[in-house]
Subunit: 416 residues, 2 copies
């Protein structure tokens, strides 16, 4: 049997026309020392009206004290235990850059780094170089490493000191250990194959030569040599192939779609088998109009629709309370349009908290709202304080998929 | 990977100068039929002020319905699943007597017991003899059993009918079954080796001869013969060596220290790799002044400091409500001095409840308080009733180490 909850979902799922809307307010949870969080401060009449008739609770994304990245946070929401379904950093970074990895591709997350004369790493992030310098270095490296040992190599800037290396070659393996020693004072490690398979050994050889060529190119490159500190090494980690996850539409007997703008979220949705609903991606920021147009056109065609709202998290990362309030209020304004498509079940929560005082992802449990004809109405607001003690009690994100499906009449009785 | 939460902690720990203070109020939880517990009745202005700005919750020490001993209760608090890291009763008793077991030592917990003429046990505790009689018997037994088969034997009084047997010998094994049949009407069992290893067989032989010699000595000893009931047998259980636990400082990348007076707590702290901060152990009771002097001198040198408060538990064991209230108020008085060392995170809870009406350790979940700059402030008191429904919700003690580390900024994000 698949791990909880997928095994149960697979066993009990019933195909019905009822529709579930899963809204992910990225980073919505907060933890203000004053006690008043952005959710509490925001004026949210539409969300309040929905919450009054909904069941509320607090949900831990991954585990107490654990601040999840977007990958594990979303996998949990989709019913995939992130401790079981580990997706490498390289794959997540590639997804974040909009690269849809194929079966013959291996992704690795790369760091530009600084080594001393003896080759020992003295700064694992090369002084957090600018994205502009990263692009310059990647252009030079890319030109020198288009192919190694018959494998196509592609390098892409992510941000600051981070890049992604993509290898494409038939029968290439992805089980290769990090070259990042994880601390300063040691030289980069060899990329060791983690199995005896020739496929993994080949990937390891290519990555070793890639790292060696990168050192040579950087040592000849004035922009790298004269940077302060010098950029003269690369570290590779999270090496791997796109994992073969069980696919949600087949498991849960429903059509699953994603409405998301940013590549990371589209990528994770695709990993579990969701369709990315066509959206006009032009522009920057939340692109609410484009998302709502896509929603209006495609809501009816999916029994599970994941709708992602990004900028609440960005405001938290910026430590900007007023901006976070504003983004929550901007979401409130589209609630009536979301409800206009008449979903049978609405679930609203976040993939992790991003408290303003912390300016980073955090472990704080998330407010969660489940509205359906069968929800116990809690007559409260969708805030951290009101959700505490709501009738959903305390949950894990892994509980939300079966809970949503149950409210939608999509789960059969368990046992006679 | 190590079991939860140690595996996650090992993977995500970051070394930072931030400091965590973990205060263990031994046996603090209660369950008064009137509803008013000692924590609710106590006047605790300093604790109240801290609690107002802290997140509260109820934490189950080990599992629902399970009343833990001090060993499992503390191991859980330190992040060690007591169902995985079982520490034998003999080892815990030895630690409680201040014996720091070496690699060549085996400890067993002993009971003085009463057998009938046929050798069947009729009282597994020999009528709960006095500690004074225990000391008399141990003196006589000790003189007769200093060495068996090249193994040094040392016997020590614990209290009432309980003693500890320590065997010291190179290459001695610790996998030997109890001789205590666990019920009356049966003779003591042979101490059987649990493996085929010669080391375990040798320990079993030594323990068998120890039990036999004890019978002979007791049968000749007037104090034992004339006791009512007669003390004429010993039962051995919890036989074992000190376990090799993963060490917390290396795992969690922090310096961990313990401020505790009683040997059991110092011993358990040392098991997980904590340093026992030097304290003037002279005197009896709580020895608050000595602990506070040690705290003032050493708080800054540990990123995790465990501070043990004993007498609240003792008052619970005595069934003395007013005394338990008084001990809680005595703790409240030192809260300002604890905070004066400016810890970044404060966690306050107990290792188990010791309800006044029960006069014993219990299973009742414990109030827990987590204060940090990033805690959601619950604006409540640190009582059983107020902690229920606090924003930490319901926890297990195993969750507290990652939660404390997260609040201290000592855990990296999980996944990208």
């Amino acid at each position: 049997m698949l791990p909880y909850p997928l095994g149960l979902v697979e066993k009990l799922a019933i195909s019905t026309p009822s529709r579930i809307l899963l809204v992910v307010l990225d980073g919505v949870g907060d933890a203000a020392p004053s006690g008043e969080t952005p959710l509490a401060a925001a004026r949210t009449p539409h969300l309040d009206a929905l919450a009054r008739d909904a069941s509320l609770g607090l949900s831990t994304a991954v585990a107490p004290g654990i601040a999840p990245g977007s990958g594990p946070g979303h996998l949990s929401l989709f019913g995939y235990d992130p401790f079981v379904y580990e997706v490498g950093r390289g794959v997540l970074s590639a997804l974040g850059l909009g690269v849809d990895l194929g079966r013959d591709q291996v992704a690795a997350r790369g760091n530009f780094a600084t080594a001393d004369a003896a080759g020992k790493i003295v700064d694992r992030r090369a002084g957090r170089i600018s994205t502009a310098l990263n692009e310059t270095l990647i252009a030079a490296l890319g030109a020198a490493t288009r192919e190694i040992d018959g494998v196509r190599v592609e390098l892409r800037t992510e941000a600051e000191y981070r890049f992604v290396a993509l290898l494409t070659g038939e029968g290439l393996g992805g089980n290769v250990a990090d070259t990042d020693p994880g601390r300063v004072g040691e030289p980069p490690l060899e990329p060791l194959p983690l199995t005896g398979d020739e496929a993994d050994r080949r990937a390891a050889r290519v990555l070793a030569r890639l790292a060696e060529r990168a050192r040579q190119v950087l040592s000849d490159l004035p922009a790298a040599r004269t940077a302060e500190p010098a950029v003269n090494a690369v570290l590779l980690r999270g090496i791997g192939k796109k994992p073969d996850l069980p696919q949600l539409p087949a498991l849960a007997k429903l059509r699953a779609g994603a409405i998301a703008i940013y590549p990371m979220y589209r990528g994770v949705a695709r990993l579990v088998g969701m369709d990315c609903v066509p959206i006009d991606l032009a522009g920057t920021g939340e692109r609410t109009a484009a998302k709502m147009a896509a929603y209006a056109a495609h809501a009816a065609a999916h029994e599970l629709l994941y709708f992602h709202v990004k900028k609440i998290d960005s405001a938290g990362e910026d430590g900007d309370f007023a901006k976070k309030v504003g983004e929550i209020e901007a979401f409130d304004a589209i609630v009536p349009s979301l409800l206009a498509a008449a979903p049978d079940v609405v679930v609203i929560t976040g993939d992790h908290s991003t408290p303003v005082p912390l300016r980073a992802h955090s472990w704080h449990p998330l407010p969660v709202l489940v509205w359906s004809r069968f929800a116990r109405p809690d007559r409260r607001r969708f805030t951290e304080a009101d959700c505490r003690g709501g009738s959903l009690g305390e949950l894990r994100h892994l509980d939300l998929l079966p809970l949503a499906m149950a409210n939608a009449g999509k789960l059969a009785k368990y046992g006679a």
